[in-house]
């Protein structure tokens, strides 16, 4: 290495840490450290008035020290595992419905003339830009007991002699709002995948005698799998940790993981158990992200 080259790399390293150092320090302190604290907190006892019990206390009768109790508790009571399974199915249902709704829209945008595409994409993002709570609140109005939709549904049920139902405060209300809030996360990655497809592949399939459905199922769909996987991860992961939607639109039995965690930190104030639940959620999220990356990456070779 020449002298000037050496000086250049030293200057570059200095510049790298001058530029990157402050944001790195900030994120180490406010993201990495809190994450580690949460892992440590899951091995502690809850404090008498919230927070954590002391590591050491003079009085031997007070809770102190470290424990595996929160983890034993998590696995000993089926309730918590059930909430995880319920959240998993809620996330799965949301992802599938988002996929079914997003696919035709993404396909239409990708097949539209180039000059219209940006506007059509913007039209997908625009409602998404209004406040999250407002979008959830809209479904409170639409599904409320006096709403047009509720009355239509109940009149219809009445015709066949069925008892009226409540649309609001139900798993159905939670699911529909979950889909509404997360739909753009599915449309955008799907569109950016579909947009890159080479139209000559479809022409080739047609020349070989494939009809419309065959061209879709055997050409377009397999090629769009990477987009499907990344969109699915972008929907599945936030739904898994969502607490606000079940909190606002769900009934008492519609608790998901997020509500359980919120309850431990805000309600019952059992922070060690809340930390344990958060770590379980983190593990679930990392597994799903890994799976999506693996599936998406593998299929990516064909695209």
């Amino acid at each position: 290495m020449t002298d000037s080259g050496h000086k250049h790399t030293r200057a570059a390293r200095l510049a790298k840490y001058l530029m990157g150092g402050p944001p790195l320090l900030f994120l180490l302190l406010l993201f990495a450290v809190p994450s580690v604290i949460m892992v440590l907190a899951s091995f502690r006892y809850p404090g008498e008035f919230g927070g954590l019990a002391p590591l050491t206390a003079a009085d031997p009768n007070t809770l102190q020290g470290v424990t595996l109790e929160t983890y034993q508790f998590f696995f000993s009571d089926l309730i918590y595992i059930k909430v995880f399974i319920k959240s998993f199915f809620m996330a799965l249902a949301t992802t599938l419905i988002c996929l079914i709704m997003a696919y035709p829209l993404a396909l239409l945008i990708a097949l539209s003339p180039k000059k219209n595409r940006n506007l059509m994409v913007l039209m997908v993002i625009l409602p998404f830009a209004s406040n999250f709570l407002i979008r959830v609140y809209a479904w409170m109005i639409i599904l409320g007991p006096q709403s047009v939709l509720s009355q239509l549904v109940n009149n219809f049920l009445h015709l066949f002699g069925n008892a009226p139902v409540h649309l609001l405060f139900s798993p159905f209300a939670v699911l529909i709002a979950m889909v509404y809030v997360h739909l753009p996360f599915m449309v955008l990655p799907l569109y950016s995948n579909l947009e890159k497809h080479d139209p000559s592949l479809l022409d080739a399939a047609q020349d070989l005698g494939a009809n419309g459905w065959q061209r879709f199922w055997r050409v377009t769909f397999p090629l769009s799998l990477p987009g499907i996987f990344s969109g699915s991860a972008l929907v599945f992961i936030p739904v898994l940790g969502m607490f606000a939607i079940p909190d606002i639109l769900g009934g008492t039995g519609d608790m998901l993981i997020g509500n359980l965690i919120k309850e431990q930190f805000i309600g019952t104030r059992d922070w060690p158990f809340g930390s344990t639940l958060s770590i379980m959620l983190t593990i679930a999220v990392l597994l799903i992200a890994w799976l999506a990356a693996k599936l998406g990456g593998h299929r990516g070779h064909y695209a």
Partner: protein, 258 residues
């Protein structure tokens, strides 16, 4: 595949699904009835109620202050991060910048709550919210600035060096002016994210202080009146303005090469 009528019908139904709820909120904000059910008649009443709602105005002021401070700091830190990641291949920083955004929001919220109370012994309030908002905003600014930088021609920086500019002069007179549209777009993004944030604010706000989303949440939970629709409509207008502003800069920052 062709853009057949069935594809159009399906896509239009999805667009309707996206827009009808928003339209309903806006329409009922002008409805002369306490119930969000039947159309009674046009009124400005709920906007007048809003103007005299002291708690709401205080919450809006808090939101504005938090968004201004946090987006300012996040813009500086995020720009530095974007440059460090793109120009100097800072992979660890790239990971650290994206992780808080990739995880479900509740995890950042509760871990920060634990950290502020248990480690820093901080009273939750303005400071804890601002710190939390900076944490999740840095990633968005960094990604936008990085994209802008990636679109620039490397040889501009070499030319500056060959002409004898010091690293600082290169940054001050070449790099910074070129990435400025990206920096502004990132800052506007951080501002919008902060004003809109509910989940992380919910865990880091403590008891005494309210922001606009927190106030809306408690209104929805306790008593729903069309006043919520009125504030929603105003917020939708505000966000639309912010997007129009941001896209003016991003279209320069991301689409057009200099």
């Amino acid at each position: 595949m062709h853009r057949g009528p069935r594809l159009w019908a399906a896509a239009l139904a999805v667009y309707a699904f996206l827009y009808v709820p928003i339209a309903i909120i806006i329409a009922y904000s002008f409805n002369d009835s306490r119930l969000n059910a039947e159309w009674v008649g046009f009124t400005w009443h709920w906007y007048k109620v809003l103007l005299h709602d002291h708690d709401m105005l205080v919450a809006a002021g808090n939101s504005l202050f938090i968004a201004l401070v946090s987006s300012l700091v996040a813009t500086v830190l995020g720009t530095m991060a974007g440059i460090a990641i793109q120009r100097y291949n800072f992979t660890l920083l790239n990971f650290m910048v994206l992780m808080p955004v990739a995880m479900p929001e509740i995890l950042l919220g509760v871990s920060l709550l634990l950290f502020f109370i248990q480690v820093l012994n901080l009273t939750l309030g303005m400071l804890s919210i601002v710190l939390a908002h900076i944490t999740f905003s840095i990633g968005f600014v960094a990604v936008i600035v990085r994209a802008r930088l990636a679109g620039l021609d490397e040889s501009i920086f070499e030319a500056a060096r060959d002409l004898g500019a010091s690293p600082w002069e290169t940054f001050r007179y070449v790099t910074f002016p070129l990435i400025l549209p990206g920096v502004i777009a990132g800052g506007l993004m951080a501002f919008t994210l902060s004003i809109d944030d509910f989940v992380i604010t919910f865990f880091t706000a403590g008891v005494g202080l309210s922001t606009l989303p927190l106030h809306i949440y408690s209104m929805i939970k306790i008593a729903v009146t069309p006043e919520v629709n009125a504030i929603s409509t105003l917020l939708i207008l505000l966000t639309l303005t912010m997007i129009a502003l941001a896209s003016k800069f991003t279209s320069n920052a991301l689409l057009k090469k200099p």
